[in-house]
Amino acid sequence: MTIRARKLLAYGIAVAVLLAVFALYTRPEMLVTLADQIWACFH
């Protein structure tokens, strides 16, 4: 595997992991829990 291919693979994995974590934020129940906990700071 060339250096360029390795770099592309590393960037691809990094982006996939970031999108997977972002997906955690979009789950409805997670979002509601998180939002409630954030909002609780300001009641």
Binding site: Y25, L34, I38, W39, F42
Partner: protein
């Protein structure tokens, strides 16, 4: 300076272990706000009890960072990282088991603040500075900063799941075990130059290095810029959800905004570190601070909508911790790496004073005026100020007089 040993750790080893440590140490602390509601309800404490402990933690992080840096430069970062991991575990367990606001302030505030000082950027950057060639140093600092940003992004939902799955107390105890992983990772960062407990020989004592740095105008300017970074980032991170609520936006908008800040922060820190290898870092820093002021101004004056919030969060996320690699790489370039952790600790202390001011002034002026307008304007003005003060920073290595008889 002679602190570098001829034998160096490999680039991959330094980056893998350093990034994993910073991911853990920065990530775990980032979700502490999620414990506000469950802890205050379970213990019948006020919100002020919790907030005071977190404020103490931020100041302790900055204060102990100086001493963690001195110890890391003198005895090696390995010892500081291991000590920091133990303090972190003890602090998290203390958070879970505290029954009074005082013990909570001592554990969540002092212990975890000291632990963060020993396990985050200043200490890890000292290793990167000593072990990685200047030609790749800024990039490597960008990788480590991106790892810390990723930790923050990752751990908020993970900690939310831990709290809802196991309860707030078990979640803290689980994290207290998880942070002990820093100890085996620290073995990968044992620097050959510090073997046997003997400190490497240096050209300057701690006091000489301090006197030199504090008399050097560029160091003062970098500290001033970093103060602004702390002020803006923590003011926005803490008070933006409240601001959005006042403006009638739904809670989900605030959650997505924080997610976008976390996501773009990872890209921003990495790109800033990479650019620091090719461009003048003072210009990168000036552009970041100027960009923040523009972003805040446009956000305030444009019609507010969920989309405007998401765009603002993405732009601010991109500029969020992107100041970290160029600031620390510049300190390393000017003063060398012999006292890098200590000098990084002082610069970070300035950041934490700014953080404290951002949180405190945000709350104080909101209570007095009923809005955040004044603090937003202060944040814009400070961004312009930081952009201006970073421009004259001299990045070239400082010229030291040659000792007599040398």
């Amino acid at each position: 300076m002679t602190s570098t040993s001829p034998q160096k750790l490999s680039l991959v080893q330094v980056l893998a272990c350093g990034a994993a440590i910073v991911t853990l140490s920065m990530g775990v602390r980032h979700g502490f706000g999620l414990w506000l509601q469950p802890i205050t309800q379970a213990q019948h404490w006020t919100r002020e009890n919790f907030s005071l402990a977190i404020a103490i933690q931020n100041l302790a992080w900055g204060f102990f960072g100086i001493f963690a840096g001195i110890i890391a430069d003198r005895f090696g970062a390995f010892r500081v990282l291991v000590g920091g991991a133990v303090l972190y575990a003890a602090g998290l367990a203390g958070m879970a088991l505290s029954t009074t606001p005082l013990t909570f302030a001592l554990t969540a505030g002092i212990l975890i603040g000291a632990a963060q000082a020993g396990t985050t950027y200043a200490v890890v950057y000292g290793i990167i500075g000593r072990q990685i060639d200047p030609a790749r140093r800024s990039w490597a600092m960008g990788v480590a900063a991106a790892a810390g940003s990723f930790g923050q992004f990752l751990m908020v939902p993970v900690e939310g799941l831990l709290i809802s799955g196991f309860g707030w107390q078990q979640a803290l105890l689980t994290l207290s075990i998880a942070v002990l992983l820093i100890t085996p990772l620290a073995f990968g960062l044992r620097e050959p130059g510090f073997a046997g407990g003997a400190a490497p020989q240096r050209d300057q004592s701690v006091m000489q290095a301090l006197r030199e740095a504090f008399k050097y105008p560029s160091f003062q300017l970098l500290m001033a810029g970093y103060f602004v970074c702390g002020f803006q980032v923590v003011f926005i991170g803490v008070h933006m959800p409240s601001y959005l609520k006042d403006k009638g936006l739904s809670p989900q908008v605030a959650s997505y905004a924080l997610a976008l800040i976390g996501l773009f922060n990872v890209f921003g820190t990495y790109i800033a570190g990479t650019l620091g290898q090719r461009l003048a870092r003072r210009k990168i820093l000036a552009a970041i601070y100027f960009g923040r002021s523009i972003a805040i101004a446009v956000f305030l004056w444009a019609p507010l909508s969920p989309m405007s919030v998401y765009i603002f969060a993405s732009v601010m996320g991109f500029l969020w911790l992107s100041t970290v690699p160029p600031t620390n790489a510049t300190v390393a370039q000017i003063f060398g790496v012999a006292h890098l952790s200590m000098l990084g600790g002082f610069v970070f202390f300035s950041h934490q004073i700014g953080s404290f001011m951002g949180v405190w002034l945000g709350g104080y002026l909101y209570d007095r005026t009923g809005s955040y307008d004044i603090v937003w304007y202060i944040a814009i003005a400070l961004g312009l100020f930081a952009a201006i003060v970073n421009l004259p920073v001299r990045e070239t290595p400082i010229v030291r007089p040659v000792p007599q008889g040398a």
